[in-house]
């Protein structure tokens, strides 16, 4: 019962956060110089004062700010994110078209980072003075220090040009025909480089974190007890220690989900991955504000959902929180 109540509480809080994002979007658009109509007129190459007044009335820009905010929230709640200036289609449809690609990229990178990061961290923690430990330290520092787009471009030069193993651009081979399995394999081939690039930064962060946390756990009393009971090192490390050692990684990963999405924006432009990052990049070049704000809202929604999931998985991993 208590779990359900906390869950409900968290969900309501998340909804309030989303509402705040909607209000922020609204405020930003109103502080910024010019409004939607000015932008449209700019696109059309000028208009008569009557037409401007009519457009303002059509878009409700002549009403009070409070009414406009209210209408804005009302529309957003009904899934109406406005119409893109450049594509002339509803922003929601555009985003929904591009969302699956981003979700595929981000979740793959997310799990790659957690799994590889944790494994490296565990290996390094078991032998603090070993060569592996130094490799993990150097790797984690480099991963953190290299600009993500540069890592991407370097991987492109290495694995799409010098050693042409992976395709350089897009999510699938243009005009590719085949069975479902072949199509999936084709997408997978395109996914490798972007996912590894996006994960590289976080592999660095999590391996460091997992190493520190595992060192901490491995030094604790209950681990010594388990070892002295005669359990094998492998069982103690992977069954007893890992469960506690991975907690900070899960927390951090959840907290950093927003940064992962932000990183995806850059990675998508490097690899021409057809996700919302690519969409956002094109929106900014053409000053398509409704589209850009819609993307900001949608990605915040993704972050909020990811945070909720992290919160719940944390509860499952750590029964003390109940």
């Amino acid at each position: 019962m208590k779990t359900i109540l906390t869950g409900l509480n968290r969900t309501i809080y998340s909804l309030v956060l989303l509402l705040a994002v909607i209000v922020l979007n609204f405020i930003l658009v109103h502080i910024a110089p010019g409004d939607a109509v000015t932008a449209m007129i700019g696109d059309m190459g000028g208009a008569t004062p009557e037409l401007i007044a009519k457009l303002r009335a059509d878009y409700g820009l002549d009403r009070s700010l409070f009414t406009q905010l209210y209408t804005h929230i009302w529309k957003m709640m009904h899934g109406d994110l406005g119409t893109s200036f450049t594509h002339r289609v509803p922003v929601r449809d555009l985003i929904l078209d591009h969302l699956p690609a981003t979700i595929l990229l981000v979740t793959t990178a997310f799990f790659l980072a957690i799994i590889i990061g944790t494994v490296l961290g565990i290996i390094a923690a078991q032998k603090p003075k070993s060569f592996v430990n130094h490799v993990v330290t150097v790797l984690s520092l480099s991963g953190f220090s290299a600009p993500i787009f540069w890592t991407g471009l370097m991987l492109l030069i290495a694995f799409a040009y010098l050693l042409p193993i992976f395709p350089a651009f897009g999510m699938s081979t243009p005009g590719f025909q085949g069975t479902t399995l072949e199509v999936m394999f084709d997408v997978l081939k395109h996914l490798v480089l972007p996912a590894v690039t996006l994960a590289s930064v976080y592999i660095a962060v999590y391996s460091r974190l997992a190493r520190a946390s595992m060192l901490d756990v491995l030094g604790s009393d209950y681990i010594r007890t388990a070892r002295s009971k005669g359990l094998s090192r492998r069982i103690v490390v992977y069954k007893h220690a890992l469960k506690n050692g991975i907690l900070p990684v899960v927390t951090m990963a959840g907290l950093q989900f927003s940064q992962l999405i932000a990183g995806a924006v850059v990675v998508e432009t490097v690899y021409g991955w057809p996700g919302i990052g690519q969409l956002a990049f094109n929106a900014i070049l053409r000053r398509d504000h409704p589209l850009l704000l819609g993307i900001l809202f949608f990605s915040t929604l993704m972050v909020v959902i990811a945070n909720l999931i992290t919160d719940f998985s944390y509860r499952i991993l750590d029964p003390r929180i109940k």
Partner: protein, 291 residues
Amino acid sequence: MNNRQELNPMVRPDRPVVELWLMFFANKAAVLGLVLWLLVVFTAVFGLTIYTGDPFEMVGAPMTPPGAEFLLGTDYLGRDVLTGIIHGASITLAIGFSATICTVIIGVVIGVLAGYYGRWVDNLLMRVTEFFQVLPPMLFVMVLISLFTPSIYLIVLAIAVVSWTGMARLTRAEFLKIKELEYVTAERAMGARNASIMAKVILPNALPPLIVAVALNVGTAILFEAALSFLGLGDPNAYSWGYMIGSSREYIWDSWWTITFPGFAIFLTVLGVSLIGDGLNDALNPKLREL
């Protein structure tokens, strides 16, 4: 304190700054970081007086590979890559430092107020912090830049707006911990004002973890600026490393050097500041060194 003096006669505990430096310089990685940084600062300050030139100027044949004529080659317009890298150093440092200063100001002020006053002030400020944490940084900055005119000031401010939350949480945590300590209560009993307790009593004691965070923040700010310039959203008049990579990326198959070298410059600069941060962390929190 006396114990430590007996353990290590080199360290004079009555001079914590000396102790800090001794520990810092005993750390090889940290010294390497410092050397990298001195190199970048030197390049930024004196580079252009030694190796003169305008980075925007076309000086040679387009896409000349690195060699005797141009040490690091030229880009697709025939601009010298080395001049660009030297020029980019000062812009990178300028943006990295000013964005960090803004980040620290916002973060520390919010963290101090939340941690010191607690209750509803804390509650309110922490909700605001959480709100900024769910906004994906790059997208939020893109929105800001697209709504307002891009300039170096807007970029610095935008980086600060998306980076201050970590600093605020850290400052708050330190203040929550320190404000309960006896010397703070004593100070208060002697009638010290809130502002004076915050600034003169608690803040100096909260500095060690903050200094480390500041060092790491310089690195993140540099990476952020690089990514923005790479996407073509930076100040169009600033010849930064990110811009160099972004403008040449279409020629990646024909001139790898125009992408590899500026990226390597960013990498080394951020690596340097990360190593310094790590070294400071070890020197300031000796207990954590085993981790």
